[in-house]
Each structure stands twice: as C-alpha cells, then as structure tokens.
Symmetry: C2
Subunit: 901 residues, 2 copies
C-alpha cells in the first residue's frame, strides 16, 4: 500500500486524532480529534511531518503520491463544504497553516484565503452577496502570499524598507490618504477593488513575476512556504531555546476558510476553558463581532468579554457573547466541557462564527502560569478528571517558583519597555532604589528604604549589603557567580551578567546606552526572566502556605516521592525558612561564610599568617565560641532532623583578599611587620585556586582547623542533648580524593567526639561522611565507602573537574558552545548525565557495593534542578539538597521522578 501522507478531518469524523500528534502536529491532531468528538470544524486535511522531513532530505521535493493524496483530500473538503476549489460559482477558499508537534507560536508561516483568483472572485461576490468582503479577502491574500510565499520563502532578502509587505502597506496608506479615511474598514468596495489592481501591478513590478492566478499554484506555493518556514531564522532560534529537535519537522494543515467578518451575525474569538492566570474553573475568553482572527490579535479593536463572568474592571460595561449570541455561547460552553472531559486539561481554543454558525478552528492545551497550574491540577483531580499522579505531573516544578516569590504584575510588565537584560540568577520580582556599595545598602535599608544593590560583581565582603538589599544586580558574572549563589541561597531576586550596564560606583551612576540612573533612583527587576525596568512596577505578594491548592499538591508529592529533600543552609534563619518549605534536614551547611564576620575574620587572618602550629592553634581556637554558637543555632532550628556540616572548604587566600591599605592596617592591628604579612599573602596566591590548597587539604595540612570545627559541632550537640533536644550532626569532609585523606580527617573528628562525649557525659548520634566532588573520588568510591558513612555529591565541583571547566572562566566559551550546539545545556545548571552522571553512577555503585547502608545525597546546585533530581532518583540516592526556595520544587520534582519510573 502507498504510504499515507495526508489525513482528512471535518464533517463529523477524521482519519487521525490525538494519538497521531507526532505525525499530524498539535494543530492537525486537535482538529482531527474535535471532528471525532462531533465538534463542528471546517473540513480540511493535514500533510504529515514526515513530508517535511522528506522535503529537507530531498532537495525541497515531495514524496511520490503526495499530490494525488492532496487532490483526493481536497475533493472531500469540497463535498463536505459544498464548494469547489477554483470554481467560478461556489469557490472553496482554504487556509494553509503550519503545525509542529510542539507549539511554536508565531514562528512559522500561514496563508489565508487561498483559491481566490480572477476567475473565482466573482463567484465569491455573488455567493456571499458582499463585494466589499470579497475584495478585502482578495487584497489580504495578495499581501500575505506575496510576502510569505513569493518573497520570504524564496529566500529573497530585500533591503530594509523595500520588502513587498511594506510596499503594499504604503500603497494602502496612500489610498486611505486619498480617500481621507484613517481605518482599513473605512475603505469601500470600490476602493478595495482599485487597491487590488494596484497590488497586482506592484507585486509583478517588485518581485519580477505576476501574482499566481491559478488556485493550485497558490495552494502548493503555500504548502512549500510552510515547510520552508520550519528552517526560517526565527523558528531555528526558537527551537534552540526550547530544545526542540530539528528533525521533528512541521505538518501542514489545509482547511476550508470560514469568515467571522461577513457581517454582524459573524464573529471570532479565543478562549481558555479555565482562567489561565488564576486557575479558577471559569470559562474565560474574548471575542469580536464582524472580525477575522487576526483582528483579535492585532489589538486595534478592543476585544469584548466572552461571558458575564468576564465583565469585570474596564470590561464591565462591554457586551459579552453570552449576552449577544446566547445559543452560540451555549454551544461553545458545551464544547468547552466536551474538550475538558476529553483532554482532561485546560484548553486554549479559537473559534469563528460565520453568519450564526459556530466553527472551531483550534484546540490545544493552554499555557498557564504557576499559580493557575497548581490550582487546575488540584481542582481537576478533585473533580475526578485526573488522578493524583496526573495532577502531580501536570505542574512543572519550576512553576512553583512563582508561588514562592513576589512576582512583578504581568500586566504592569507588559506595559513597560525593558531597560536591560541579564541572566536570571535569582527568581521573583523586586523594586528598590539604586545603591552602589554594600555599606550604602545596609545604611539605606536601616533607615527603612528598599534598595537594589548594583555592582560590577560581588565578593564575600559585600554579603551584609546583599542581605540588606531587596535584590542584587551585577554587570559581570554568570549563573554560578558569587552574587548568584548567595542570592539563590536566600531566595533573593538577582540578575547577573547584565553586560549593558556601565557602572561607575565612584560617581554613583549607572548608564544603559543613553539612560543615566543615579543613586536613589527607582529600579525594578524581574529575576525570573532577567529583565531590568526603570522606575517602580507593581509587585504581587507571595503566600504559598496560604494557598490550599499548593498545600494539597505538596502533600500528595510527599506521599509519592522516594527521594528525601534537604536544604543547603548556613544560618538558623535559612534553616527555619527551609523547614517551613518542607526541608527534611540540612544537606549542606557551609561553614566558611561564618568566618567573614568582621569579629571573626581577624582571628582567621591571624591563623593564616601564623608561622607555627602553636600560633595557628591559638588563633583558630579564638573562633571556637563563635562556631559553637553558629552550630547551636542551626542544630536547634533543625531539631530532630539531620544536619550535614561541611568542614572549611575554600582556599585560604580568600580570607586575605585585601587592598594594599587593608594589608597595612591589618599588619598594624596584628602587630606584625608589613613585609611578613605581605609575604605570607603572596605565598597564598594560587595560579588555579579551584585546584589548589582547599577542601580537606586545609584540614590535613592544618589539623587544628578541623579539630576546632569538630569541637564546635560536638560541643553544640552535647549542650543541646543535655537540654533534652535530639540532634543529628553529620560531619562532612570536603574534596576527598582518596580514602587516606578521609581517614586522616575522620580520626581527628572521632577523637574530638569521643573526648567531648566523655567529658560532658552525654551521647548523641553522629555520622562522618564526605563530599564526592572530584573524579578520583568516584573512581575509588569503594575504598572511601569502607570509611565514610555517607556520600554527598558536590556536583558543582565535580562538573568543573570532569569537564575541566572553571565556572568563573567558562563565560568566554560556554555561550559559543551552546550556540554551536556542542553542549545541549549549561552543565552547571543541568547535570551532564552522560559525563558527570556516569561518574556519579560509578560512585554510587562502588560506594554501595562496599557499604550497603551508605547514605547518598547530592548538594550541588543541581540538587534543585528537576531534570537532575530525576537522575538522582534513578541512581537511588537517599536525598537531594537545595537552597531553601528550591525545596518545594525539589519535592515536586522528586514525586514526578517517582511517577515516571
């Protein structure tokens, strides 16, 4: 049998349906399915995506048999619609539209009114008895076809301002000028008739060939244009961003035209079966009488509310379809219910009413925001439409972000022109006044001002100002820069790498092209999208716990997921926040941030410049009371839950990153010669600090540090145990690459634990484990697991060493890698499963092989990334750990991973 390339629909039945979505595309599948459901759809047919693939593999030619199948299908339309293609009396007009497997809105081409020629025009006039309508249809066809088929699809690139569409629009403007009218609709039938003549002449003049007067030539021209638009610049760029494979191809839908603009008994509209902004189970949409679909989108006429429920705000006094055409509305309401029952999801539909008859032109699953997604999923489950499992799969974990952070009001945002764009490093919206230093941020915030801290980049010394600010905006740095990491940890709105900003922190000005902003000026950030606005935009507050649908969904997620969800938190506040978001423990408590407090950093610096172990011990032990307080706070906040505390990790020189003035001052304060201090600082300089003297290498060379930290942890644990609290500290040795490194540090930690338990006369449970964050640790995980009670994959560092990419430096080549598709995604955002993931799998396998009850988790940035969480589930890890604001996202992602098994 010949291969089937064409699937018909309409007239109460269809050859295809939703099950053939990959072949028919989304639009074609929807039209076919609606036909099957008995919903009125103008008859038509779909040319499959396979033809598109064939077209690109065979130098823009079509497979054998296609033309015959198209002719056959066209005949079926003619029968159903009682009209004939190219016929002088009852001419059939068709639309030619794209339709890929996944929606690519506006990215490909459409041609309407195909079939209008000098021969069929009179027939349309006499049949509709509307000369103006017919000439208007004709001029629309010429304009669209000349642009899309004759120019763009042929690859002609005219000079700017010389494109055929612009040429024709100028002719239309001239006509309106001549007639002294301002709206297209004010042109008469005579005017349009004259305009059509001018259009036909201009097309031939500009493009060098006449506008085709043969309906079949028009049809195949349209089909070819749609296929070619699959590889148009916009479409390709969109696919890059959305990760849609190039070889999926688009289908082509050819469908009988119906017209909403034939008079007052005609209309057109778009609707959502539920409110896409709130999730409320209310029919929601807009319509326009006597209009074509494009008029609703164009926004020249104000659309009317679909129903009485939609008559709110400015629309309160406008007539609704429910009131104006009650029968049609009732029919639409019935279709709405039918579609939701069938698709079991909210649908985004388009319809046209021609002379009182309702035609459905499209149905597809509607896009919605996070709030709506959560509510719809939970509601539909409670309505019995979908199961709990389906409800859980219905919400993209990332969408929860919206519920957790204040968001910019989308309406305010769409009405404002962005000032600049950067990388979306911390989600949510924020409004504040510009300050340029951390100290200013703190000072302004103290007197009650909301501020946005704007800097080229941030360093650990800026942390107090970052904390005081509503949001952080930097001109340099990437998604894992200091600013980004800190902001994400706090769930703070943050945009980084906003290269357009020229920041003069001395002069306290910020320039973006010709806009100059000064300290105190208002600025608004959309950290979810990375967009910066000038001035103050409205914010919508966040209150997830007050949202019953959110609470239900999270509860269901917790029942299903197998992965535990912990948080990365360094302070009692963060810990408490994460706990309120459902964190089941701390997976990573970094201790280095604790050292940057001015009170403490001096002792740290003394320790660093110490020349003997005794001096070093003396200095480091000054930090003991502070650290003990830190751990008391955190262990108390996490009472009853495990808390993984990582021993000191960063290169020591980070603590003595000082200006010459500061060095001088420090030497004075410490009472040591400047030269000696400077020499020590120089000595600490490293060519590649990421691969340098850090992690357990610190604790091995300076055992006093590990001892002090262990002492602080266990003294805190002992004190809380005496208070009757249950604590579960887990001491994590960082950057281990061999079992001997681990043993060395383990011995120190165990000795201290034993000593303190004996001295204090209490006993508490504790674990000692390690971070797996360099490739060698994965390779010798079996050896390490003989000693370590848990593994926590530090995938940030593991990604760096597995790829040999420095996060701080990858900015110079990663963008090119993504653009050239050498990498599918930034491996610091989404786990590289075939490289890094393979090493992790090896680590888990070898580790569990050596110790059956080895506890395994992940605490890198990937711990909050849904795709990476799914991978961790597959590896049968015990938990993921992420920043507090990612905890709900991780809970849902973990449930989805369990469901996708």
């Amino acid at each position: 049998m010949e291969k089937k390339f064409v699937y018909t629909f309409g007239g109460g039945s269809a050859e295809g349906g939703e099950s053939l979505r990959n072949l028919l595309g989304g639009k074609g599948a929807g039209l076919a399915e609606m036909s099957n459901l008995g919903i009125p759809v103008p008859a038509g047919f779909t040319i499959t995506t396979e033809v598109c693939t064939y077209y690109y593999k065979h130098q823009a030619s079509y497979p054998e048999g296609l033309r015959e199948q198209v002719d056959q299908a066209l005949k079926r339309i003619e029968q159903i619609m009682d009209a004939r293609f190219g016929d002088a009396e009852r001419p059939l007009l068709v639309s030619v539209r794209s339709g890929a497997r996944m929606s690519m809105p506006g990215m490909m081409e459409t041609v309407l009114n195909i079939g209008l020629t000098s021969r069929t025009l009179p027939g349309l006039i006499s049949w509709t008895n509307n000369e103006r309508f017919a000439y208007d249809a004709y001029r629309r066809l010429i304009m669209m076809y000349a642009d899309v088929v004759m120019e763009k699809a042929e690859g002609i690139e005219p000079p700017e301002d010389q494109g055929i569409r612009l040429v024709l629009e100028r002719e239309m403007d001239r006509m309106k000028e001549q007639r002294g009218v301002s709206l297209d609709t004010d042109l008469t039938a005579e005017d349009l008739k004259a305009l059509v003549d001018i259009f036909l002449r201009k097309v031939e003049e500009v493009l060098g060939r006449p506008f085709p007067d043969d309906p079949y030539e028009q049809l195949w021209g349209g089909i070819g244009a749609v296929f070619r638009s699959w590889n148009g610049k916009r479409a390709v760029a969109y696919r890059r961003i959305e990760g849609i494979p190039d070889d999926w191809g688009t289908a082509v839908n050819v469908q009988a035209m119906v017209f909403g603009n034939t008079g007052e008994r005609s209309a057109t509209g778009v609707a959502f079966t539920r409110n896409p902004a709130t999730g409320e189970p209310v029919f929601y949409g807009e319509w326009l009488p006597n209009a074509q679909g494009e008029d609703v989108v164009a926004g020249i006429r104000t659309p009317l509310p679909l129903n009485k429920a939609g008559k709110v705000g400015e629309a309160a006094s406008l007539p609704s379809l429910e009131e104006m055409m009650p029968e049609v509305y009732a029919q639409l309401e019935e279709i709405r219910q039918k579609l939701e029952r069938y698709y079991k999801d909210m649908q985004d539909i388009e319809f046209t009413i021609q002379e009182g008859t309702l035609w459905m032109l499209q149905t597809r699953t509607g896009k919605r925001n996070g709030t709506a997604a959560v509510r719809m999923a939970v509601d539909m489950c409670k309505e019995g439409l979908i199961s709990r499992e389906e409800a859980l799969l219905r919400v993209k974990p990332e969408q929860l972000d919206e519920l957790l952070h204040p968001m910019l009001d989308p309406k305010a945002e769409s009405a404002t022109t962005p000032l600049a764009k950067g990388l979306p490093a911390g989600p949510g919206g924020a409004v504040g006044r510009i300050v340029f230093t951390a100290d200013d941020a703190e000072a302004w915030a103290k007197r009650g001002e909301r501020v946005v801290l704007v800097r080229a980049e941030t360093s650990p010394e800026d942390v107090h100002g970052m904390h005081a600010a509503e949001a952080i905006l930097t001109s340099k740095g990437g998604m894992t820069s200091h600013a980004a990491l800190v902001a994400r940890g706090w769930g703070k709105c943050c945009i980084v790498g906003c290269g357009e900003l020229e920041i003069d922190s001395q002069g306290k000005t910020l320039r973006v092209r010709d806009v100059v902003l000064r300290e105190g000026d208002w600025i608004t950030l959309n950290g979810t999208k990375g967009v910066v606005y000038q001035g103050q935009l409205a914010l919508l507050p966040a209150d997830p716990q007050g949202n019953p649908w959110y609470n239900d969904l999270m509860e269901w997620a917790d029942q299903i997921r197998k992965l535990g969800v912990r948080t990365n938190a360094d302070t009692p506040d963060d810990a408490a926040l994460a706990r309120s978001f459902g964190a089941e423990g701390i997976g990573l408590c970094r201790t280095e941030h604790m050292f940057f407090d001015p009170q403490r950093i001096m002792a740290m610096r003394e320790m660093i410049v110490a020349e003997t172990p005794e001096e070093r011990r003396k200095a480091i032990m000054k930090l003991l009371p502070f650290q003990r307080e830190d751990f008391l706070g955190i262990l108390r906040a996490m009472e009853g839950l495990p808390v993984t505390i990582r021993l000191l990790d960063p290169p020591l020189h980070e603590f003595v990153n000082l200006s010459p003035d500061q060095v001088q001052q420090l030497a004075k304060e410490m009472g040591i010669p400047l030269e000696r201090l400077q020499a020590r600082i120089d000595q600490l300089h490293e060519a590649n600090p990421m691969l340098g003297h850090r992690g357990c290498r610190l604790g091995i060379t300076y055992p006093e540090i590990s001892e002090m930290q262990a002492r602080a942890i266990f003294e805190a644990a002992a004190q809380l145990t005496k208070e009757g609290k249950s604590v579960f500290p887990e001491v994590m040795i960082p950057l281990v690459g061999s079992v001997k490194e681990f043993e060395d540090q383990k011995r120190i930690v165990e000795d201290v634990a034993r000593e303190i338990q004996q001295r204090e006369g209490v006993s508490f449970p504790y674990l000692i484990g390690t971070m797996i964050e360099i490739p060698r640790a994965c390779v010798v995980a079996d050896q390490i697991a003989t000693q370590a009670q848990f593994f926590s994959f530090g995938t940030n560092d593991l990604t760096q060493t597995t790829f040999g990419f420095s996060r701080d430096d990858a900015g110079s080549f990663l963008p090119v890698y993504l653009e050239k598709r050498i990498l599918a995604a930034d491996p610091f955002q989404t786990l590289d499963q075939e490289g890094v993931g393979e090493l992790m799998a090896m680590g888990v396998r070898k580790g569990k092989g050596a110790r059956k009850d080895l506890k395994v988790g992940i605490c890198g940035e990937h711990g909050g990334d849904p795709a990476s969480i799914a991978f961790c589930h597959k590896l049968e890890m015990d938990y993921v750990s992420c920043s507090p604001y990612r905890v709900p996202i991780a809970r849902l992602a973990a449930a989805q991973a369990a469901l996708s098994e």
Copy 2:
C-alpha cells in the same frame, strides 16, 4: 605442629635459605644460604619477621613457644661453636642484628658481645689468653647495650648531651687524658678494667638501674631493642622514602661472635665480587688486620686493598690481603665464585678472619651505579650466568640516566660540602658561572662562557637564556614547573624549588645563609640529586653510543618490547636528538612554544586583541609561513616516522603576560589605544586558567587558529611529499571532552587537508586524533572514538583534573601528603594507577570498543616513568612518548614490562 619462629644456620647447613627471604630478612637468608653452600659462617639463628609483626600487634609481647625455640637454637650454636652461653669457662658470645626483607643500612640497631657478664668475663680472658681484648669487648658491650637497649629502646629521650653514650664516651676521654694517650687502642688492659667499673657505675647512676649481669636478660634485651628499632624515627623515615611497607617487619639474627681484633693473625674486611663503580669483573674490596668490622667503617685507620688488582693510586704501596694471607685470600676468591654462581649477581660481602680462620658474616646483592649495572648485566649474560631477559631486568631504567648525561665525579662530590638542596628536576651534572637573567646567559654564552642561569622562577620569555645555559637553578617551583619541563625536554641539568636561595636579581647576588655569591662566580649542580655546590667540581662526560654494553642492552630491549617509544619534541634539533636515542616518532609536538619567538609573538598578540573575525584572521595568517617552516623542519627530521602535532593549547593570556611598560609599548607598536589593549588583556585574565579558555576551546571559539595551523601542517606535508619524502603527520586536537568538540575541529582540519591535496595535486597519509586529558573524555571515549583515529593520553592534565590538583599550586600540600603517606608518590611523577589509571583503562576500553584499530599512546610526563610505562603496557597501548633523554629509559622500561607479564 607449633609454628616455626626460629631458623638455625651454620656448621655446614641451615634450616632456611634464600627462598625464605621474606621470613628471614636479607641478612638471615644470606647467612642460611651460605651455610647451605658450605661457606664458613659463625653458627646462629634467625627470629622471623612474623615475630616482629606479632610483637607490634600484641603490645610488645612474643608469641608462645618463641622462648623454647630460641633456647633450642642456642643449644645448637653451643654445640657447633664448642662454647656455652653464660658459661664461666668457654663462654659463647653472640651478636644480635636486625635484617629486613630489603636492606635498610644503618637504620636499625645492633648489639655485639652479648653474653659477657661478671661470671663469663674470666672465662673469656683465660680462653683467649688476652685480658686487654676481653675488657675491651666488655666495655664495648656496656656502651652499646646501655645506649641501644637501656636508653633508646625504652623510649627515654635524655636532654641533648646527656645521652648515656655521650656520658660514657666522656668517661673514656677522661681516662685517656689521665693516661696521657690519644687512641683507644693505647689504653691498657688495666685501664680498660678500671673503665669497665666506671661504666657500670655510670650506667646505674644515669639510667637508674644496673647493667644486666645475666646473659639471657642481655639476649632478650637485645632482641627487643632490634624489634623496637623497626619503628624508630630513622627507620620509619627511611621506609617512607623507599616505599617499604610498615608491616614487613624485621627479622633478628643471633649469631656467635667471631673476632678480627684478637691479634695480627686476625682481620676484617668488606668486598664486592665485581667493581661496583665500573662493572669490571674484578674482585674489589678493602681489609684491616687486627680490627673489628666497625673499625673499617669508622674510617680511623686507612683500609688496605684486598688484592693486587686494587693496588692503584694512593693504595699502590699498601699491603693486600692477597699478599699477606694468600691461603685465606684464595679461600675468599673461591667463595666469591661460588656466591656469583649461586646468586648470579654481584655480591657485597663482609668477612672476619679470627686467628687465621675465615668467617663470612654477610652476603647481599651489591649496590652499583648505572654504568656498572649495564656492564655487569651484559657481561653476566655473555658469561652464561644469566639470560638476556634476566640481563634486561637487572638494570633499573632510571640508571641509564647516568650514561646519557655528564655526571659529577662521585669522588669530587663526596669530598665537598653541599651548598644547598632543591628538587632534582633535570638529571646530570653541570658546572658554570652564575648569571641572573636570560639575556646575560645568552650574552655570556656567546662569548664562550659556561653559565648557570639562576632565577626565582622562569617563564617562556626566558627560554633563549635557558637554552644558552649549562644548567638552570631556581628557588621556586616544583618538578613540573616551567623550568623543570623545559630543562627535562632538553635533557639539561636543572634544580628547582631550592628554597634556601635568596636571589637578588637586581643586585645580581645569591645568598645561602651566610654565603654570598655574585655574578660570574662558579657553581656546580648535581641535577640527579638536586644538590648545589660552590665552585667547580669535576665532571665525567657522557657517551652512551660509545659504550658497547649499553648498545647491546638497548638492542636486546628493542627485540623484546611491545610498546613503541616516541618522543615529545618541538624542534628539529630535539627531534633529531631523540631519533639518535631510538625514538620511533614524535608523540607530542607542542606548537605553542613556536609562538614565543619575538618575530611571531607580535602577530599572536595582534590576533588576541583583534575585535572581529576578519582582523583575527589577518593577524593569525601572518604566522602561517613561520609555522609552515616549523613543520617542514620537524617532518623532515622525522622522515618516514609519524609526527603527532598538537594544535594550540595554552590560555591566550599567556601571550600577553606583560608589565605595564610592555603594555604601553605594545599599544604603540600596534597603533591601538592603551585602554583598549589593557581592557582586552584584563578580559583575558582567568581565575583558573587551567580550567579556562584553552585547548580545543580556542579553536572552537577562534576557528581561524585551527585553520592556520592545519594549513601550515599540510602545506609542509605537501611540499615534502613533492620532494619524494614520506611524511606521516598526525593532527591532535587538545582538551576534548565531548565528541562534538572533536567533530567541530575535525571538520576544519579535514577541509584544509582536502583543499591543499587538491590544490597541490599530491596525496599524503594523515590522521586526526585527540588528546585524552580530562575525565569526561575517558567517560565518553566510545563516542569520541567514532570520530578520532587516535587517542593520546595527556596524563599531566588528566592527573590535575582527576585529583583536582593544580600542578602549580600543589606545592602547598603535596609535601605534607607524601610525608603523611596519604599519597604513596607524587602523582605528577608516577601515574596514579588506581585513580587516573582506572579512567585511562576505561578510556582505552571504550575507545577500542568503538574503533578496533584506534591507535593509543601516552604523551604526558609519565610517558618516561618506568612504573607508568609498565601500566601503559598492561593497557596494551601502542606507544609511550617522552622527552628525548628519557627515550632509552622508556625502551628498557617497555622491555621490562613485556618481560614481567
């Protein structure tokens, strides 16, 4: 049956022998074997190393049954030696000596004359009829025993100058003073008798308990002291250095005393069965009449030559044993032959002659230098003692180094006090006058001076001066610093990281403690050991090709080895040198060094600061003629052999590592604003350049670079092909981590190759492959091998990323790691087989799985390390590649690897 802990020997037979070396230690096994061979050995027994292990596992106690076995064995000695332990008439005296599996000379304890007590002393006097001898033996026992057993082994740490040995020595000095004599031997029997009394009193006074007067207490005291000395500081440190496992333990040898100091018919001596310095097959040794073994070692009396052949130089007029005791010498010569026939190797022996009777006290395989090792191995093979295979295994590959480089004359060296010690970065000896800058080095060398370039560290800009110098000495840097890498590549003597040097390059002085050296002063370097001497020491020239034994050995090695041996060479000179050493191709030709020539670096810098692809292309193409010349030279030098050329690898900023003055000058020369140049240089700065914008990341972001390099390679190949030469260029893409990176670069290289072959109308074979040097490449090697024709493991970088260690920064913790035994060896010197090696094994397995004929090699520093070469052989690699001077070493190591299968 009870476990056997004690093995007897002597009297013409023994319970053990060489086959039980691990149990009996080297000394014990040798004594037993000599007994079995009928060689006269004082009777004795060996307590096994198992007892040592037991001792340490059981709180310094002995296994059950040991005492009985010792008593039994002691009885056997008494029978053979016709004397009784503790007997008042014919007292048996014994020595107690350590003896580990591997020789640890001087690291553990020995006690002689055990069994002398107030009861047995008269017996010894009457039996030997030599009162002076007996009291001398007694005072030696007290001195040694009090020190070794009563003080050290008990862990007593007296204040400096208060140790019992010093206390007793002071008493002896006082006695000599009183008697008005200067030599110990001038003290009379009466004197010694008085001294013994003083000694006994002092021991009790200082150590708080009497000297034991029970022979069994003495014996067990001695045994315990030997076991305890296994964990003495010196022994532990020695094991760390030599890589001897702690759990091997030492045996204890208890043996009847014989005395070489009973009169003129007695003597003692040491000998080698062949000359250990030259390998000549001549009996070589020294002796002293009327002396104990320690007297030969102490160096107070000048030892006499063993035989007539040894009467050369200063020894020419001294009496030889051969002349003085011809029968004993004949007996010794017979033993020499017997031992060589049995051991099939050169033996290092100790003997004592007591009243004309020869006793052998030790035989062990003798240490020898490289020259001697090669000659002995080849000679013994030709003598039929050993097979060719055994001959090849007899020489440590590292020992060949001596034959390849001029060496310091060991005699001159042993007579000179070192000035400083650093890391032995480039082997061999060198003598020259100090210069402090590269320009000075070049200028002085041009006028015929031999110079040593002394710097804090070197950079690529110093290369001309490094080349001109005899040797390079730096105060900073490690074994893989710039200076070390460059020097090793040239086979140049080099010492790095010599921290004691205070270099003032402005003032042109060099200070080591209180010695100040100035420009032009002479200095001598032993680069094999890392020792620096003041002044000029004698050098021995190198001429391996003129050494017939070396040539034979290399020929045999080539017949046996399976691994190919290539070289890392960047210039035609290096290539030719390596070829003369037997290199079978170039495994790594780095192209970046070629860019540092002043003529070229300007074009390189222009390329770097270019702002458009066109500017960049224009600049880079200026380098094409230079690069083509480079490759013409190298391909010509390697005609008929494969040449692997790596495309540009290092971070771009290395080319613009400039002082502010230089930046200003460059801006002027290039005619661009200073700010623009400085901004671009700042932009190139990287936090972790090792993980930054380098390797194929350069070629992917700047494809013009790869294109230019490919063009230079293939234009050179085309020209040589036209000249009738056969060339085999292999283009190597560096730092690949994913197959897509490789594909991107491969396409560029293939396009250029096709274009040039067509344009020039010639065809030549070429390969395109990649360096495997980051962990991800090993993990996805199967994917990469679908595209790459060869893999070359870049183990330097692979070690860095697998461990997360930066070579440049590891100096701050690696020494501690080695000291604490966290790492057994520096992984940059010897391949880490269980970590890095495991990833390599994965890479080879996956790579060959995807492409059966994949060519696999190694081109990191490890390619010249024998242990690493053995590992490469095991992985069935095709070749190793190393610096020219390592080529002979690699050839031998590869043969040994093949033999060890």
